[in-house]
Each structure stands twice: as C-alpha cells, then as structure tokens.
Point group: C3
C-alpha cells in the first residue's frame, strides 16, 4: 500500500513573505509558482511548507485555477454567504464587510503542504490560491514557512 522515504538531520525553518495586491470581492491569486520557488530556494530535501494568511478577511485553499472553477467557487460564497444578508458586524463597523469575515472564517487562513526531494507535493491541476474576501482592493501579505531537513 505504501512506499516510504525517510530523511533525518538538523531542522531548518525558513520564513518568507509574499506581498501582492488584490481587488477584493473574492478576487483569487494563484500563489503556486511563488510557493514552489520559495521551497526550492531553501535547498531543503523534505518537510512541510505552511501557507498562512495573517488577516481576518482572506483565506487560502487549493483549486484547479481555470476561469470556470474560479467563477464557480466565487458563486458558492455569493449563494451561502451573500453580501445582501444581514450582518451584525455591519451594524457597528462602517466597513460593511461582515460577509468577508464569515467567508474567511469558513474557508480558513492556513494550509500545510508536504514536499519531498525538494519538490512540492501537488496534484497536476491543483494550485494554491489566496482568496481576498474583503469588499475593496487591499495590499496583502502571506507567510510561507518551510520547515524540514536538508
């Protein structure tokens, strides 16, 4: 059932950050090439990379990043967490992004990917996506932390 590969040594932790602009309203940014490049640049052989968004109105997931799936994924959030619903957050906060907070909490800020032989374990059509749920353009930062052995 399984094939095992084991690597041992000192632990190395390399913490990187990606900075980019988003347009809001479930704008999605494909981070795959950047994450792959950062993992390679560490020179580490095996371990995990944590892709983490430090914020309350964005989230991280994986998708086949083709325009149809991107639009279908946005439509899901428009259906189940519509900006047209009532949000208590909006009663006390003039930014009117209550739906963005709920969407981000449901999808989650963090994903962990294993890598092996210096290569990210990803499916052929699977891309790492940041989703900006806020209702306006933002400057965003995502933490990419590689932890493994060399």
């Amino acid at each position: 059932m399984t094939k095992t590969a084991a690597v041992s040594g000192l632990a190395h932790v390399v913490t990187d950050r990606l900075h980019f602009e988003t347009q809001g309203n479930a704008d999605m940014v494909n981070l795959t090439a950047d994450v792959r490049r950062l993992v390679k640049a560490t020179g580490l052989q095996a371990g995990t990379v944590t892709v983490f968004f430090p914020g309350a109105t964005g989230a991280v997931t994986t998708l086949e990043f083709e325009p149809g799936v991107v639009q279908d994924f946005r439509s899901l959030f428009d259906r189940i967490i519509s900006p047209a619903e009532h949000y208590e957050h909006n009663v006390t906060h003039p930014d009117l992004n209550g739906h963005a907070h709920v969407r981000a909490g449901l999808l989650g800020p963090s994903l962990v990917f294993p890598f092996e032989d210096g290569e990210l374990c990803l499916g052929r059509w699977q891309e790492i996506c940041f989703v900006c749920f806020d209702n306006r353009p933002r400057q965003r930062t995502v933490v990419v932390q590689t932890l493994g052995v060399g």
Copy 2:
C-alpha cells in the same frame, strides 16, 4: 517580493493541552492569548504551532473576535446546517447532535500557525477560535503542539 529568515538546529516538540468549558450551540472560545503564551513558554525561535481539537463535535478557525462577527458566524451554520434539518445520525443516536457532527466536519479540527522570533504570526484583528458545535455544555481539551528550533 520576499524577505527570508532562516533558523537551524535540533528540533524541539512541545505538546501542551488547554482545558476549558463550553456552552454548546456554536459557543466560541478565544484561544489566542493561551496559544501565544504557550509558544512563548517553549522559548523556541521559529517553527509552527498546531492547534488541534481531538473530538468530533468541535472545530478550530480564526475570526475577528468581536460580538458581531461571532454572531454572524453562528448564523451561517444555522442557515446551512440547521438543527431543524433531518439527520440520519439522530435516527440511531439519542444525543440528537447530528448537525454538530456535520458542522465540525465542514470547518475542520486543526489549524497550523507559523511563528518567528518567538512571536505567533497573526493578523492584528485575527484571533484563534474554538467552536463548540455540540448541543450541550461540554468539558473540552485542545492540543497545542509547538514544533521548531530554539
């Protein structure tokens, strides 16, 4: 685009547990201060902390922990996974918490946060929340495992 910080050394794994009471019905508990304190107490410089709920009727996420967002997040689950729906679980289990199981499975039991210079990477308004989906008060335990280099 990125700024890199690297730390190497022996690996350290510190496993802690938080114990607390919950009221059920999507009661939320803010774990941020406890997780931050536990990471600091390890004395480690960089790595990841895994916040994991060992159970089938609770989950972990991040939210801006203000009363409006907390209520909006609860409303989401009342809309899409209402206790008023039919649940097969409830046919054979007298605890009648079928909705709690489905909610917990959707949100997920585990999140991973990077830390750097001994400090948790969190957004300014982003808090680590445990959500108790069960339909009654419970004693809960959450595992907080810090893995990194010193």
Copy 3:
C-alpha cells in the same frame, strides 16, 4: 490549565503514500488505521503528521465515521453545492464535475495531526476521512508525511 511534554533531537521526515480506489459522488474512505500505523512505523516519539491529497476533486476531514454522519455529511454538499446547479467549469470541460472542484476547494486538501508518545492525538469517535467528490470511480493517492523527533 496545561500540562507540557517536550522532546528534542534531530528532525526526521518520513513521507508515505496511501493508494486506494474510490467510487466518487462523495464516497468517503476512513484512513485512520492506515495513518496510525504509518506514524507508529516511523518509531518517532512526537511531532506532526500531515495528511494531504494531491488533487483537485477530493478533500480530507475528520468525522465520527458511522453511516448516519457519513450520509448527513454527503447531504450537506448536495444542498449547498448541488450537481444540479450551473457550473462554468462544465461549459468548457466535458467531465461535468464542476461541483466536485468547488466542494474540494471548500473542504480543503490537507489536515495536520499532532502525535505524542508515538500515538496520534485523536478523539475517541474522530476518524480521518478522505472524501472523493469526483463524479466517477477513481484511483486515489494520499500523502502521509510524519515530521518529528525520535
């Protein structure tokens, strides 16, 4: 509030793969026994195990794996991400599995579990589940990567 256990040493990364068949349409496979066995086989004392699906039409979660909950969890996706909705993906892709992509993106491809004293930290009724959202039988691979100290 907390009890601490600490282990230090060289870092070990053991990367395994599980191969299995799925029936599609939210078919669920219980991976718990396999993951537990793989963690034990590493001989490591403490750390994390990452369960990761390298693909765009499946996901990983935890559930009480009894037939009622399994059916209730499937019903959730039939309600909120029904195959009967319109999917842009299906306009350009003849596989007609747009709903599978959206479901997988919502649930997520990856979960991290801590282990301690060589034992996975899981709740008594909590099982690690792979969910195949595709609309046909598939051969699936899941990466199980154990990272810790011995």
